[in-house]
């Protein structure tokens, strides 16, 4: 009838224990799921991962044993899998496409020349920029500023000049993006190049800053910020063709 020949009574009696054990296992797994929810030490995504795994275990348990697929002809499994696979694939795609566009408000992106003037007594790190007498200088090594700008400072290897004049204008970039997994800022002015790309550690409510040296002064209109999120690639300022 359903493929088992010899002694149906014996077959079925053996299965009694399988069924009973399986239900105990299912109950235990459900218990674990509930405990995991109550214990609050796990992170959100870990809990979801565990729930996902336990659900699959229970699902397979019921379908393979209770629903007899293990003992029946393979065609039955094929019929069921067709529906299951297509449902999973289709709906993963739909949920994925339910992603929203990353949002940057007008005021969340700013590009400004650095204004920090040199100050005596301040600790500077190598690569810091300062404005002194209308020119920009870059720090050569970590040091604490003495009372005079041009005084020689101990670099650890002897006395030397702390500051080198730079040709160009350092700018401070600041941005705030709703969500994304790859951020890129580049200049759309070929005479004033800039390119910065990184993967933010936090995927939501991303805030970032960067200080970079540009050839000349620029305002934010000369730059483009591109954000990649799960389903979208957004560009600011908005590309009217997208």
């Amino acid at each position: 009838m359903s493929g088992h020949a010899e002694d149906p009574v014996l077959e079925e009696s053996k299965r009694f224990f399988t069924f009973f054990n399986l239900s105990m296992i299912l109950v235990a797994i459900t218990g674990i799921e509930i405990v995991i929810i109550y214990v609050e030490t796990f992170e959100g995504s870990t809990i979801i991962g565990i729930l996902f795994a336990t659900s699959i275990l229970k699902f397979v348990g019921v379908v393979w044993w209770f629903m007899h697929l293990r003992w029946d002809k393979f065609l039955n499994t094929v019929l069921f899998l067709m529906g299951l696979v297509i449902a999973l694939a289709t709906y993963f795609a739909v949920i994925y496409m339910a992603d929203t566009h990353p949002v940057i408000a007008e005021e969340d992106f700013s590009v400004n020349p650095l204004e920090g003037k040199w100050e005596a007594g301040k600790d500077y790190v190598k690569g810091d920029y300062v404005l002194q007498d209308d020119s920009y200088f870059e720090a050569n090594f970590d040091h604490k500023a003495p009372s005079s700008f041009s005084a020689q400072v101990d670099s650890g290897k002897g006395l030397s000049t702390a500051w080198t004049e730079v040709d160009g204008v350092p700018h401070l970039f600041k941005w705030k993006v709703s969500h994304g997994d790859l951020i890129e800022i580049n200049s759309n002015d070929p005479s004033n190049e800039f390119f910065h790309q990184y993967e933010p550690a936090e995927k939501e409510n991303i805030e970032g800053t960067k200080i970079a040296l540009l050839k000349k002064e620029a305002t934010k209109e000369k730059f483009r910020i591109r954000i990649r999120s799960e389903a979208y690639l957004t560009v600011w300022p908005e590309d009217p063709n997208q």
């Binding site: 065609l75 067709m82 529906g83 739909v94 994925y96 496409m97 339910a98 389903a231």
Partner: protein
Amino acid sequence: MATESVKYVAPETETQLQNQVFPRPGQHTTGIIDWLTTIDHKKIGLMYGLAALFFLLVGGLEALLIRSQLWTHNLDVLNNRQYNQMFTMHGTTMVFLVIMPLSAAFFNFVMPLQIGARDVAFPRMNTLSLWCFIAGGITLNLSWFFTGGSPAIGWFGYAPLTDNRFAEVMNDMGPDFWVFSLQILGIASLLASFNFITTIINMRAPGMTMMRLPVFTWMTLVVSFLIILAFPAITIALAELMFDRTYGTNFYDFLEGGKPHLWQHLFWIFGHPEVYILILPAMGIVSEVIPTFSRKPLFGYGLIVFSGIIIGFMGFAVWSHHMFTTGMGIVATSAFSILTMLIAIPTGVKIFNWIGTMWGGRIRFETPMLFALGFITMFMIGGFTGIMHSSVPIDAQHQDSYFVVAHFHYVLIGGALFGLFSGFYFWLPKMTGRLMNEKIGKVVFTLMFIGFNVTFFPMHYLGMIGQPRRTHTYNLGHGFEAWNQIATVGAFILGIGIAIGVYQFVSSFFDKKLKPAGKNPWDARTLEWTLSSPVKEYNFARMPIIKSRDQAWENNYGPKEKHSEKEPVDDHGVHMPDRSWCPLVTGAGLLTLILGMLFHATKDLETGVVLERDYMIPIIGGIVFVIGIIMWAIEGPGGYHLFPKEDEE
């Protein structure tokens, strides 16, 4: 179709008629009760076909009204709401009440004959499926008579236009009729498909392996799988819409957090497989006709079957190409664009194989072949424009223009309808026992071919110069008038051709002056052509034992070891399932339930607020439905025996 040649048996084996609430109709039932209670797949197929041909004329009338309105600029044949109603009803009717039931008619009649079965796996469920289809057709067309008239929302019913909030007419019931009729039509399709899958997998004659099945049967199988996997999506989408309209949920209401975009996804997850459901049966028919009229076996049988399966499977992966302009984002649009381009490959393979079949064959140009050739050429044109759409930037130009209208009518009329008409001309002699008039058939083909191309080819151009779809009129100065007039003339020519064809089909059942067809008038190849025309009630007097593909051909022309054999005569006689009232009762219960739900609420005429809900009629319908099912379970399949003469088929 009467069983004139059957030997009658002693009364003990006749169906027991007493002791039942609904006495079960016995084996000698005739007349209208026979047709109402039949479970015979052949009769069911005929009823499907007749109803579908009726709806073809209804949908055609709706189309002619549309074309009349577009004759020239600023006409008033239809106002804008009526125009919207017309294209909604035309689309819904043609898709759900014509093409799908015509395909079902052929699946029902021909498939069991092709696999060597006496009926489908679940005969009563087959009948229920028919009555659900009839109920759906009735429900949809009842909409003309109630508040708001027919739905004016397009055959795809995009949210949020379908929300009560945007009703043009207060308490517009059109969309409600649309929702409920589609639900019951969905039930009809699902029931039929489960039946066909089980039948093809489980009820083949001995020796009929899967790779010996005719391509038409394979397409039946693929289409049935598509239906059972695609319809659930629209069932839920429609249910969610019903909840929104009737109970105030927020599934598609953007002001309350819903996403109208979700409707589009769910609709097209169904909608795209649906268009493959519409075209694959016609492809199956053409795969039978071309080898017959080329007197050559089908080229690359395995590839054609495999391509059909791939098309079906991939059909689930391309739905968002209907949504390229909705702002889904680069990743999604690119993915769907590529997948859509890929799906052209198996389609192309089929076309090459059909051409390969004809190559070197001895081609006869009778009417079925003319329609099959028309299918190949017209479907190719539709396919080319389809590939054009698959490119996203180009689609941005095409979207909502007449170019799309041209595309889908090329694949649906040039493709599906031509294929189905080919099937009619091919198989009606088997069903009626009479050959139809070949001259009239060729006239029908000529009118349809010319009319169709004159109507729809100019629409490619009209779309490119900017005529939008679904717009009830256009102003002077765009240059639309001339080609619209040509298209309208073409539409009337097409209409005349179709009308003559339909008349020819229906009258062939009654016209005694037509020549008898005999078993195999076309010298065709598959199993059904070994049977008499019309086919006897029991299909096969003795079960055939199949030895090869194209069994009829091999029996006539092949070597002896490939000839089919027959199972030994069974003293029991041939077991036939009993007729039953239960499917009709169950179907009537469902129809009552649906109509009850449509009218259960009393609403304020001014504000649309629901004043009172009365579920009495739906409950009665539900009870009748349940009673029908219980009686169904209790009565069992029943059965009686027939004893065909030794040499009879």
